[in-house]
């Protein structure tokens, strides 16, 4: 697995990519809070909210196919809970949509609203993550007041996930090549434990080597980044447009069903 497998789009260049990570993060936070606080029965307003993240994604040249694949990948838990709504809530309602009237139950409406909110907030989250380099995001979060220790922890974690995932792929392939049939639970568990254990010992050894290398280069427990974060005029403009779009939708458009 290459380093740029998941967040390959974060390294592109576009007006959205060049925005300050703090502005994007705060806008995302407000957006998510507003969408989540929408009433549990209004579906159509979610489409209006979706315009925002879709515009950002298109401007940033992120392929929408990738985005929806990513959403599908993380959906099972929400899907199960949303689909359980129609089973428990059978209050009949009539939904009016344009010229059509539809008789259904409140459970189905809730189910679709949960799924709709899920998709819209995920669109927003992906449009932050795939337009911001993780290092810049961390620098921004540090300036917003996250503890230094946590920032360093996240930075290291991000840097080495892909290294260790590569290693575990080697180990898994080695097991698959040697194991020709299911060996029974006890043996399987033992093998898995040995794999995890050896991976743990290897990562501790790696950590020691990295630590020595860092100490030699004068590591002083702070997270440094080459990119200087400055709030420029276009960042303010972006925040202004985004926030007025959201608040305008929230306060002036009456959510109907």
């Amino acid at each position: 697995m290459h380093h740029a497998y998941i967040d390959k789009f974060a390294y592109q260049d576009s007006p959205i990519h060049r925005l300050d990570s703090r502005a994007k993060f705060i806008v995302l936070l407000i957006f998510t809070a507003l969408v989540v606080s929408l009433p549990r029965t209004s579906l159509s307003i979610l489409f209006c909210y979706a315009v925002g993240p879709v515009a950002v994604l298109v401007l940033a040249k992120i392929p929408l196919k990738f985005v929806f694949k990513q959403i599908l990948l993380v959906s099972p838990f929400v899907l199960v809970l949303a689909l359980s709504c129609p089973i428990y809530d059978k209050t009949p309602v009539r939904v009016a949509f344009g010229p059509f009237f539809l008789g259904t139950t409140l459970g189905w409406v809730r189910c679709f609203v949960i799924l709709g909110k899920f998709i819209v907030t995920m669109l927003a989250l992906i449009s932050l993550v795939s337009t911001t380099r993780f290092g810049d995001l961390l620098t921004g979060l540090q300036k917003l007041g996250l503890p230094k220790l946590l920032i360093i922890q996240l930075g290291f974690l991000y840097r080495y996930i892909f290294v260790l995932i590569d290693k575990v792929h080697h180990i898994l392939r080695a097991r698959n090549v040697r194991r020709l049939k299911n060996l029974g639970f006890k043996k399987e568990l033992k093998i898995a434990a040995a794999m995890v254990g050896s991976l743990l010992i290897r990562s501790i050894d790696t950590a020691e080597r990295i630590n020595i290398a860092m100490q030699a280069r004068g590591f002083d427990r702070t997270w440094h980044s080459l990119s200087k974060l400055r709030i420029r005029r276009c960042d303010l403009l972006f925040a202004l447009i985004a926030i007025s779009f959201m608040l305008g939708l929230y306060f002036f458009v009456k959510p109907v069903f």
Partner: protein, 343 residues
């Protein structure tokens, strides 16, 4: 199990975010002097190790085709101690949210509490309590099993509670709780087994890496596993049946009231003036009172008219939004097609 944004209400999300942030801030402050700078690299890489270890899967018995993997919170707490373990697992949860989009941004507080803070501290506490005194392999076995099952169950209990407090789902509280407990009992049991097995491996290969060293010999015997499984099943089963037979408790009652009245204003009775003011503000600005659900048998034509109007509004909203998105996309597509010619 990762909580999602959509299953939470904003107050619950804000509350849990505050608790999680305060907890993490407190831990970071507290361990600043304990965690020397040569532990920082170790902690970071062990976070990455958790990701990798979660990819090591193994076949589960009795359920062909399913495979389990470890979660790792308790193992890490045993190896690194609870504070460092909690920070590492929290960072794993944050990365899962930001890079892999697992669990939402608002649900981050819940996830940090359910997956990182509670299991790390509870698991470590149980493990240390059981293994206190003279070290023996039986104690380690019981300690690790108990720690894993209880830690994961505790995290799992919190999910339905948070969902019920938010009132988004229509699933009855006890059903959700029992399902979560049942599923996570199995998860916790498998987690306990693999944790014990990994501790056994480490004890053979590199016994000095655990904070408080391991006893002479840790091993898994089939009989012990069977006995543990029976005992745990008995305890959890008894607990669940008690829970199922009980009259609905307060939480469930408050929750069960809600599906019939989507604006659950009378959920909290409080005569405090601030609450009243907030309520007032809420009813004024919240779009909730305006939603238009129509009863199935429309008696009044006025209601029918309003419904028709609402239907047209929503139709216009959806259509307009879709058209806007399409226009944005097509424009961008045209511009992009032009660009290589220019370059």
């Amino acid at each position: 199990m990762h909580m999602a944004n959509e299953l939470l209400s904003v107050p619950v999300a804000a509350g849990t975010l505050t608790i999680a942030a305060a907890g993490l801030g407190f831990i970071c402050r507290k361990v600043r002097h304990i965690i020397t700078s040569d532990r920082l690299a170790l902690m970071g890489i062990l976070g990455a190790f958790i990701f990798a270890a979660q990819m090591v899967n193994f076949q589960l018995p009795a359920m062909p085709g399913t495979s389990g993997h470890m979660v790792g919170a308790v193992l890490l707490a045993i190896i690194l101690g609870p504070h460092a373990g909690a920070i590492v697992i929290s960072s794993v949860v944050v990365i899962q949210c930001l890079i892999f989009q697992d669990g939402g941004l608002l649900a981050l507080g819940c996830n940090i509490i359910n997956i990182a803070l509670v299991p790390s501290y509870l698991g470590y506490f149980l493990y240390r309590t059981v293994t206190a005194g003279r070290l023996s392999s039986l104690k380690t076995y019981i300690g690790a099993m108990l720690a894993c099952v209880c830690a994961i169950e505790a995290g799992a209990i919190l999910v339905p509670i948070q969902a019920a407090l938010s009132g988004v789902l229509a699933v009855p509280f006890s059903t959700f709780l029992i399902t979560m407990l049942g599923v996570h009992f199995l998860v916790g049991f498998v987690e306990g087994l693999i944790t014990v097995a990994v501790l056994g491996y480490l004890q053979q290969v590199k016994p000095d890496i655990v904070v408080n060293r391991l006893p002479g010999k840790v091993r898994l015997s089939g009989k012990a596993v069977l006995v543990t499984f029976v005992v745990f099943t008995f305890i959890i089963g008894a607990g669940l049946s008690l829970l199922a037979s009980n009259k609905p408790d307060g939480l469930e009652w408050s929750y069960a009231e809600r599906p019939n009245q989507p604006d659950f204003k009378n959920f909290v009775f409080n005569n405090d003036s601030t609450i009243a003011a907030v309520d007032d503000f809420h009813s004024k600005y919240s779009p909730l009172p305006d939603y238009s659900i129509k009863s199935p048998e429309p008696e009044e034509t006025a209601g029918e008219e309003a419904a028709t109007q609402a239907g047209w509004t929503s139709f216009a909203g959806v259509l307009g939004s879709l058209i806007t998105m399409a226009v944005i996309w097509v424009t961008a597509w045209f511009l992009r097609k032009k660009q290589p010619v220019k370059a």
